[in-house]
Structures are given as structure tokens and as C-alpha cells.
Symmetry: C2
Subunit: 309 residues, 2 copies
Amino acid sequence: MINKLVEKIKKTKAPVVVGLDPMLSYIPEQIKQKSFAEFGETLEGAADAVWQFNKGIIDCVYDLLPAVKPQIAMYEQFGVEGLRAFQKTVDYCHKKDLVVIGDVKRGDIGSTSTAYAAGHLGKVAVGSSRLSVFDEDFATVNPYFGTDGIQPFLDVCKEEKKGIFILVKTSNPSSGEFQDRRIDGRPLYEYVGEKVAEWGGQLMGDTYSYVGAVVGATYPEVGKIMRKVMPKAYILVPGYGAQGGTAKDLVHYFNEDGLGAIVNSSRGIIAAYKQEQYAHFTAANYADASREAVLAMIRDLDSALQQSV
Amino acid sequence: MINKLVEKIKKTKAPVVVGLDPMLSYIPEQIKQKSFAEFGETLEGAADAVWQFNKGIIDCVYDLLPAVKPQIAMYEQFGVEGLRAFQKTVDYCHKKDLVVIGDVKRGDIGSTSTAYAAGHLGKVAVGSSRLSVFDEDFATVNPYFGTDGIQPFLDVCKEEKKGIFILVKTSNPSSGEFQDRRIDGRPLYEYVGEKVAEWGGQLMGDTYSYVGAVVGATYPEVGKIMRKVMPKAYILVPGYGAQGGTAKDLVHYFNEDGLGAIVNSSRGIIAAYKQEQYAHFTAANYADASREAVLAMIRDLDSALQQSV
């Protein structure tokens, strides 16, 4: 799957992933009204609105992009019905040939990680059947448990040719509280990054590993260092746009081959119609606004990368 | 909810939580056959078997216990249908007046943690409605993001009078890879424990905080230290029994009031009928075997605590 992701990034010339993190406040009134009229102001109604909203955006942007990244929390908050909308979103993105990065940030002790890995990336055994479940292409994983929490994901990735992105340095303001703690003079995230490189060494695709890392756009100096620590890891970069990361900050997350990083934007794309510069689209054409925002993001990154050569 | 948990522990004289972590291999054939006959060897069939298995155990042990701890991964691996079984399990445990600790180990940046906190402990807004979703009483939370990943859980706990257990030192063999890394001579988990005490100071119940911690039974020396670092935090202790922790190891996880810790056993209870000592119950009476195993665990802990006085 990392090979497919790299191929699609080359083909679309877009090292960009759209975060499908729909909050109800992002969803235009006309969609919510229709869903609530059918299902009431219920979890089912909310889940339907989320799904309709996503579908509109996917239909309008899928040809521009290599990948999408649904954030499962935004679905899970609506319970079983919300998770059904997550499932429908993953399935629909696959139909559109998009690579799906499940932003699930799971992680637990070994036997439990095995269940998460099976449910999100692999297959579960039920009697004599082996069934796919959520079936994302990649999942994000929390490293706090160490190797035996990660190993089940590696095993499934090997079998299914799928991938993971391990949290190394997250984009939020207080990520430094634990991640930046210095151990013999070096921050914790560097040790995590070294493990990412080690784990990923066993699982190489053509040029990049099945095992990538998350490094936030909001800490560009960290990105520069981690690029060297994990040369074969694709870096998934959250925090561009709404959280404050700029394209100029991100050039060092890429390798000299122009690859090695994929930048996420969520709010900045899916709620673009709420920004002044895209307000002329109006809520009725929210997905067209998202398309314009994707095109602008691709141009922005391309321009920064060209200047850095 | 921490007050209710403490009251129930006092009343049952059982600082014990049963982990409802059903793997299909634990479930007696007669239950699986019935579920598969009705729903096929499908995710729905697996989820039904899990739910029927849980119900049998809950009916047989609820009067002995203060709390249960369903591990969501074991349900999530069966997708939407599995999560419906999780929901049914939580609801049924509430009917039996059990405190429910959702072992979800969620954690993310602030806005995303807000969604997890709402979905698992709080309420979500849908139009003008505010709806409960999974509605556990406590949830386990991963600290890797620092304060702004935890704060949304604290906010919901305050509003709903619920609680969290933050991962400090996990029970698995490789937990030391990152958690034991030394920062100015002290391990990372101590820094996390200090933050648990700090976060919990804002949210005190009558004698213990709404904010507890997870410290594995497999590291008793750590338990002894962390008891002092976080005197007002309830410690949720996984790793007793099947993972190797013994009752004698655990006395220092408790305070002098005989409270302050609650010990989890999963496999050792729910799959008791597979152990030689309970094999006479046979698979048909698996839940009676679980009841015997709960009683034995309560005696084991009580005896160790009496000897330590």
C-alpha cells in the first residue's frame, strides 16, 4: 500500500491528504435539515448528515488527491451509527480509488493491539470465515506501549501489505510535555523515531517503508531532524493551515526525491466555504469550495517545494 | 462516580474489576453455534456470541463486584456490529448497577479528544438535543499528547461527575521502552504520574480524585513508588493472574485506608472454565466457573491485604 500511496502522490503531484473530520458545525444547514427531517435529531440523523457531507466532498475532490484521512473520533462520538458512517466513508473512498488512512490512534498491549490491527487493517476469524472489517489502508498508532504494542500491527501490515503511521511528535501545543522530555540530552520523540526506523526496516516497500510516522507541521525544526532519523519513513504531517503550519515550514519534511511526506488539512478543506476567501461559493456549494481549497493547497506546497530546490 | 466506585468497593469488599475482553476462543461452542446458526459466520454472528457470553457472565457475577471493564478492541474488531455488542454490554451492566470502566485508551489532540470524551463519557449535541452515546462511567486515556489532550476529558468528567484512568505504566513486557526512559534520573512514568496528581487535584471526590491511573501488576516496585506520587488517584491495576501479577505483589498499590486500587482480571475470570481447577464446571456452566474464580480472586487479594496490615 505504501507503493500505491507513493505512485498516487507522483501521479496527482499532490503530497496532500484531506482529513475527513466532520464536526456538525461544519456541515451546511441544508444537509443537516434533510437528515434530521428523515431521522430526527438523533445519532442516526447526525451520522447521516456526516455521511452526506463527506460524500459531497469526496465526489468533488477525489480526482485531485492520493488519499484521505478520516478521523474516527468524529464518527465514534455518534456511537454505533456514527461508526457506520465511518465504514461507509471508507468504503466509498475505496470505490473512488483513494488511499484511506484511518486516523484511529489506537495502541494497547500485544493481545489487544492484535484485535485493533485485525479490525482496522486485517481480517478477523469468525468460525471458518476470515472477514474484512473497517479495512482501512493505513492506520495511525500510538507508541506508548513499546514494541509489543506495535508488533501486531507490523504482522498485519506484512500480511496485508498495508501500513501504519506511528505518532512521533504531535501537532498540539502541549505535545512537548512528555514527547520533548530529554533523555541523555535528546528528546523522547527522537527515540520513538529511531524505533520507527527500526520497525520499518523489516517492512520495506519499493522506496519507502510500510511504517511511517506522524510529525506535526507546527514543529518544523523537529521535522527537519526527524527526516534524517527516519529516512525511509513516510511522514504524515498534520497541523497545516488551521493549526498554523505553513508550506514553507514543511519543505524539510520531504526528501531530496521530492517524496517522503504527505501533508494533511482537515478544517481548511472540508469547511473551506466558511472562510472569507471561499464564501462566494455559499453553503450550497460547499464541496466546490473544498475543491478550490485543495487546488490552492497543492499550489502552495508545490511552490514552496520548487523554491527549496 | 469515583464516590460510587469507592462505596461499591467498600460494600462488596472486593477491589476487583472483571475485564470483559471476550475473544471468540474463550466462548463455549454451544454459544457460538447458536449465534452462527442464527446470523451465520458473520460479524453479526460473532457480535451476538460475544454479547450472549457476556450476559451469562454478568448475570452470574454482578452481585460480587463493584465494576467491570470491557476492552473495546475486542468488540471493535467485529466492526459496527461488535460495537453494538459493546453498547449492549455497557447498558446491561448499568442495569445491574455495575460501574463500567470503558477500556478504550483513547487520546488525541484537543479538539479530537473532545469528541472522544463526549462519545464515551459525556453527551453530544445534535441539533437542539444533547444525547448520551456509549455512556461509560470511566474511560482509560493515553497521555502521550500532554495536557491539551487530557483537558477535554477533565471538562467532561467535571460536568458529568465521571472519571478517567490515565496510562502511567502499562503491564506489557516492553512498556519500559519509552515509559522507563530516564529524564534527570527519573523515569518518564513518574512525570506522567505527577501530571495525573496535578490534573486530579482539580477534580476531587470525597476521598479520591476523578482522575485515576493505570499501573500494571507486573511492575510491583513501580506500584509502590507511584502510590506515593499520586496519593489521591485510584490505581487501576491490570496484569493480575494470566499476565503474572500476584496478590502479594499488589499490597503496595493500596493506601493505608485499604482503598486506592482496583485490580483487573480478564482471561482468569471470563475463561476460568478452561483452567484445570475449574474444568469440572464444563463449558456449559462457564459462568459458574467465572463466579468461582471471582470469589477466589477476592479471597486471594483479601488474604494478601490482611497479611500486610
